[in-house]
């Protein structure tokens, strides 16, 4: 299954470039990855899923459950697997899924979940960058932070479920353990937040930390020296074929290295009003 044409990305090379990276420099110019070039002060966090390296071990699934106290019955990260072909020419493959932390469509830059949130746009919030500058952005119960993370403010959430319905990927669910702050008769919405509590403190997300295949690569697309920037460039990932449901115009920021075309052949989409595609199961 390996792609023989892929050049080796050695960790050593990756690290050696680190010190020279220029904050905010544009790494790649692509149709879907819009880099804020000269003004960019915040990172743009993104995930690359190298499907050649995913062995379907579920360490990410369980690490996420543990890290984020995810209740039974729902997941923030899953693996979909599928057996294809006819014996003896049978194949089986794995596809890790999470929130795509979408940039939103090109027109307004607001992802569908954020757009659906009745609490968005809320008051102006401030994001402080590493060099001390302030970026203002619109808060909401579901909102997009200037560093690209789509986050949920459970204090503001009214538990209406509109974001859950609006997400074409079906990665959201109600958290039975957390009340919606805006309407305590309801439960708050929940989903992958890229382990913001770790990333904000300088540590990789938990699923990335434990991925033994190193199939999950997390980093800053605004940094041309980051491994994700290099992978996006080298594998030409910033195109429709390397993200999920590009036709939705959501501009996902989870990119797949997918030499076997699994996004087309394996991915099971949500059915309207249902989330059972996002329950990790091994047959």
């Amino acid at each position: 299954m390996s792609d023989k044409k892929t050049p080796e990305i050695s960790r050593r090379n990756f690290l050696s470039g680190v010190g020279t990276a220029v904050v905010g420099a544009a790494a790649v110019a692509t149709p879907t990855v819009k880099l804020e070039a000269a003004q960019a002060k915040a990172p743009r966090w993104a995930m690359v899923m190298d499907l050649r390296r995913c062995i379907g071990c579920r360490a990410c699934t369980v690490a996420c459950k543990s890290e984020n106290h995810v209740s039974l019955g729902r997941f923030r990260a899953v693996i979909q697997e599928k057996t294809m072909g006819t014996f003896p020419n049978t194949k089986k493959a794995f596809l890790p899924l999470m929130c795509n932390h979408c940039e939103g469509n090109k027109k307004d830059g607001v992802p569908p979940c954020v757009k659906a949130c009745p609490e968005f746009p809320g008051e102006r919030a401030k994001f402080k960058t590493a060099d001390g500058k302030t970026i203002r952005y619109r808060s909401g119960a579901t909102y997009k932070r200037p560093d690209g993370m789509i986050l949920i403010d459970k204090e503001k959430c009214i538990g209406c479920g509109k974001c859950i319905d609006a997400c074409p990927y079906g990665v959201r669910s109600f958290d039975p353990f957390v009340k919606a702050g805006g309407d305590p008769t309801k439960q708050a919405a929940d989903k992958c937040d890229m382990c913001a509590h770790r990333v904000d403190n300088g540590v990789e997300p938990s699923c990335v930390n434990t991925c033994q295949g190193r199939a999950r690569i997390f980093g800053d697309l605004n940094d041309p020296g980051s491994e994700v920037s290099k992978l996006v460039k080298e594998h030409n990932l910033a195109k429709d074929a390397n993200v999920l449901l590009a036709q939705e115009g959501t501009n996902p920021h989870v990119f797949y290295i997918d030499p076997d075309n699994l996004l087309k052949t394996l991915y099971t989409q949500r059915k309207k009003g249902k989330l059972d595609h996002f329950v990790d199961q091994i047959t």
Partner: protein, 840 residues
Amino acid sequence: MKKLNRRNFMKYAAGSGCALAAGLSGSQSAFAGSIRLQAGGRDFSPTTNKELQAIPTACWQCVTRDAMIGYVEDGRLVKLEGHPDSIRTLGKLCAKGQAGVNQVYFPDRILYPMLRVGKRGEHKWKRISWDEALDLFASKLKPLLDAGTPELLMYQYGRHKGSQSSIMHDFMDAFGSQTIGTHTSVCEGPKWVGQESLWGGMYDNWDYDHTDFVVNFGSNQFETHTNHIPTSQRLIRAMVDRNVPLYTFDVRLSNTAAKSTEWIPIKVGMDGLVMLAMVNVIMKEGLFRKNHLKYMRVSPDYHASDNDKIAAIKKHVAKFTPEFAEKESGVPADKIRQIARGYAKAKSACLISYRGTVMHYHGADQERAAMLLSAITNNLDRKGGRVMGVGAGWKHPHSPKAKRQKGLDIVNGFPGEAAFPTHQCSQQNLPMIKDGQNGRPKVYWSSCNNQAFINGNNKEAEAILKDENLIPFSVSTNIVYDETSQYADLILPDVTYLERWDYEDMVSPTGVAEYYIRQPLIKPLGEAWDQGEVFAGLAKRLGIDLAYSTKEEYVRQSCEMTPGVREAGGFKYMKKHGVWHDKNAKPNFGFYEETVDVSGDGIILDEKTGVYWNYKKAGVSEAEAKSKGYLGVEGAKNAYVAQDIQGTPRKAYPPNTSFTKSGLLDFYSDNFAAKGFPAFPTYTPIPEHQKMGKNDLHLTTYKVAVHTHSRTAHCKWLSEIKHDNPAWINSKTAAERGIKEGDRIKVSNDLGEITTTAHVTEGIIPGIVAISHHLGRQHSGIYGSGKKSPTPGGAEADPDAKNIWWDKHGAHPNSIIPNSSDPISGGQRWMDTVVRVAKA
């Protein structure tokens, strides 16, 4: 316990010119620009953002025992991660390891000593104090000492490793009983017996970091392995980073087969034959390497020339042509040739074999074929090849041993059942007790073990455990009420591995040993006690002196005694850092080449075998040594010094098990020949498979990535992902029986019948059913069995319990798998069972 030194964990995190940003809303901080995130070693609360306490420790979910970091918040364990400084794990942890938190907090956990008050199996229990429990236990043990029959205490364990093993043996030595049951024969015993007959030791790993080609027979390394995280991550990395091909022979499309360059479906029990056909191709086409021949013995002659050896190997494998192998195994002859050529021509290559290969009739011989393939291509303990795993060599305290040391001969199977049960024949331990011909223990102490679930014919095991005439007093040390503890008289609440001290020693595939410890992340819940404290409590009551009073003390002493660890700072260092390895150590590949000084007193050369041995160490006179020779003196193998290799005394492959052998790889084995087994690796058809009827199918079992065999069903995050185990059946085989996906089916044979669900798939060969063996639990708490245990939990009720959404708990195949042993090794023949399958 101190926090880890952050600097240790920063090695993967690059420096950055940017300082931490003040961040969002003044309360959170954000990195920006060129800042690199560190991989791990620190964690924070997702709700409060507070940094968690980080404590280095070691996993125990499976025998791999990864070094790891536990994160604690306000006295509660919340997260586990791989240890970033571990040379074995490289900071990774698997799904099971991540779910270790569940071991501590599952709501049915046994937290207090429990005394049975109903009949065995009635599930009626009374909570008692530890003093009462130990007084009762000691009152059953004291008469055994008084009567001079210490062997009537049997200790039956499942997994005891590192200090958990050594402290148990220390106690049993002090008590005087060697009636100790293990479990390796139900795991992969035949593999080790096959290896021991050749290179003396056991436990191969693979140097994937440098290999060029990998062939895998019957191992599901990407999902599960006894050294899973250290090996599988290196294998997938080799494949993607360096384009190393992986060819997997398996009856089933495991995740490993799925990720392989190619899955080669093979019929049940044919791995050894295909390996021999590969040897045939390699020898016939002259693709072998002569380098290792001097270490190989392939005929009765110890001094054969290389040319003689080449001719002998060719002759042995002449009949195993690829065409013959194709007929029997279903693997196309051309495919065998292609893989044999690729394997032999690669600069270095790894040959993997595991349970799919060895848990068969003559499984030990199949492993010998795997070693032969490695040896003729000079891939044995070479860079990039099949290497001897290297583990830590801990020293530990010793208590005075009892003068009387006795053991019941009930752990090696029935008389004549197994020729070389060097890893016991533990599936027959309970049947041997029932039989009674070699005696019965009066006290049966089961620890980290579930005999009534893990063995074949487990219904019989249950009946034996239930019978007070067969087992008068039964003690179970456990954390969960299970199929075995339900028949105990006394249940002792064990600590989980996250609440205890241990030194650990699992092997490293890098050729450099890693020393690491396990330390408590939290105080034990309820009244759970470490087994070390239980030993001390019993010893006090029995008047036995032990060299320690607590497990912590035992581990502390071990750290201060062990060379390397001691100099690094001993116990204090290990508590702080968790792991240690010798930074100057280099992989010791090719250990057999080491030249040996044979000038010492008492060392003579045995002309027949070419072995240098020390007759004085063997305790015989020079005259007796010379007249009887190395092979003729009992215990001479323990006085082995070196092997004459073309005129040079070299370490070669010393014997270190019950096999008496020279320092050569005994591909021609007198040991095997003397017992009527094939002297040279061969193909022996499985008797039951020769008389299968038209409608009969093979039954095989397997493991998935998220469960161990019997100790994870109560882990909610694992059972949520895998709680049902439908029987895999090929679409053609299913159609012949009118079976469709999801149908209820009966799987039956002379032993009985189970009802389960069919999973009709193209990912398995026709003619078999495969059922994973983790599930179908009678008891394992609400998450594992759907029902609450009858023991009072003291842990806070898990609020997640009301979120259970699954009501299936699987079917256990073991009740229709007989206890049947490989006559060579005593290994349980899991993969030889024949069944009939029909719609229920």
